[in-house]
C-alpha cells in the first residue's frame, strides 16, 4: 500500500469514486451527447432506462433523470467535470462541427481547457495538461 492510500484509509475509509451523477432532463439526447458526440462507452448493464452509465476512463458517469428519482433537476456547477482529451483545440473543432457551441479555449500556462454544455446545460470541461507534474511525470 502506498503512503497516500494509507493516509486515505486513516480517515473514514475512502477508497475511490464509484460514480458521479450527471442530472439530465432527457435521457435520449444525453445518450447522444455522451455516447455519440463525446464517444464514451455506454455500460450495457446500466440498471434502468432512466439511469445510464458511461465509462470515462477512470470514473463512471451516471447520467440520470432527477424527475424520475424524486428530486428536481438542477445542472452541475461550472467546472464540475474535466475530461482529458488528447488535444483541446481538436476536440473543440470536432464538437463545433457537430453544431455544438464550445467556449474559447484558455491556457493557464500548465493546461488548456474549453467548456461545452451538454443538452441539459451541464458544463463539461475539455481539458489537457501539457506541463509535467512536480515529480516530472507527464499526464
Amino acid at each position: 500500500m502506498s503512503e497516500s492510500q494509507a493516509t486515505s484509509l486513516a480517515g473514514v475509509g475512502v477508497e475511490r469514486v464509484d460514480y458521479i451523477r450527471i442530472p439530465v432532463k432527457d435521457i435520449e439526447e444525453a445518450k447522444h451527447f455522451y455516447g455519440e458526440l463525446l464517444g464514451l462507452s455506454l455500460d450495457p448493464n446500466s440498471p434502468h432506462d432512466d439511469w445510464v452509465e458511461f465509462q470515462a476512463g477512470n470514473v463512471t458517469l451516471a447520467v440520470m433523470t432527477p424527475h424520475t428519482h424524486e428530486y428536481e433537476f438542477s445542472p452541475l456547477p461550472p467546472g464540475a467535470i474535466a475530461l482529458r482529451v488528447r488535444d483541446v483545440a481538436e476536440a473543440k473543432a470536432k464538437l463545433e462541427a457537430e453544431g455544438l457551441q464550445v467556449n474559447e479555449m484558455w491556457d493557464s500556462g500548465q493546461c488548456r481547457g474549453a467548456g461545452v454544455k451538454d443538452p441539459s446545460g451541464n458544463p463539461i470541461l475539455l481539458h489537457r495538461r501539457y506541463a509535467p507534474y512536480p515529480d516530472g511525470t507527464m499526464p
Binding site: 497516500s4 493516509t7 486515505s8 484509509l9 486513516a10 480517515g11 473514514v12 475509509g13 475512502v14 477508497e15 475511490r16 469514486v17 464509484d18 460514480y19 458521479i20 451523477r21 450527471i22 442530472p23 463525446l38 464517444g39 464514451l40 450495457p44 448493464n45 440498471p47 470515462a56 476512463g57 477512470n58 470514473v59 458517469l61 451516471a62 432527477p66 428530486y71 438542477s74 452541475l76 456547477p77 461550472p78 467546472g79 464540475a80 467535470i81 474535466a82 475530461l83 482529458r84 482529451v85 488528447r86 481538436e90 476536440a91 470536432k94 464538437l95 481539458h127 495538461r129 499526464p139
Partner: protein, 122 residues
C-alpha cells in the same frame, strides 16, 4: 474524439478553510495542491478540486452530483462521520445491489457513501 479519463471533478466552496477541514480532516483525503482559493485532494482514482468561485467573481452553486464515495462499510463510515458532527440525509438505503447514504459538505454539496456488495453481471 477520444476522452482518455476524468482529470478532476470539482465542488465549489464559500470558505476554503472550512472545506480544507472537512475534506482533509473529516473525510481524511490527502491534499495534492493547496492555494488561497483552490485545493486539490486525492479522492481515490481522481482529483477532487475544491474552489472558491468568488476569487474569480463567480457565483457559488452547490453541486447536485452526489459523488459516490466508495467505503468498505457504509454503516461504519457513517457512524464515524456522525461522531465528527456530519449530518446525513435519511437512512442507509439498500438497493439490493449496494448500500448508500447521502450527506452534504458544509457548503451543501451533495455527497454519498456507497458500497456495492453484489457482483457485477459482466
Amino acid at each position: 474524439m477520444q476522452v482518455e479519463q476524468v482529470d478532476f471533478v470539482s465542488v465549489l466552496t464559500q470558505d476554503i478553510a472550512r472545506a480544507k477541514q472537512f475534506y482533509g480532516d473529516t473525510l481524511g483525503l490527502p491534499i495534492e495542491t493547496e492555494g488561497e482559493s483552490d485545493l486539490e485532494f486525492t479522492l481515490g482514482q481522481v482529483t477532487l478540486d475544491v474552489f472558491n468561485p468568488a476569487s474569480i467573481g463567480q457565483e457559488f452553486e452547490p453541486s447536485p452530483a452526489g459523488i459516490a464515495i466508495r467505503v468498505p462499510d457504509v454503516a461504519a463510515s457513517r457512524a464515524e462521520l456522525e461522531a465528527k458532527g456530519v449530518q446525513f440525509d435519511g437512512d442507509i438505503v439498500d438497493t439490493g445491489v449496494c448500500h448508500f447514504a447521502f450527506f452534504k459538505d458544509p457548503d451543501g454539496n451533495q455527497l454519498m457513501l456507497h458500497r456495492r456488495y453484489a457482483p457485477r453481471e459482466h
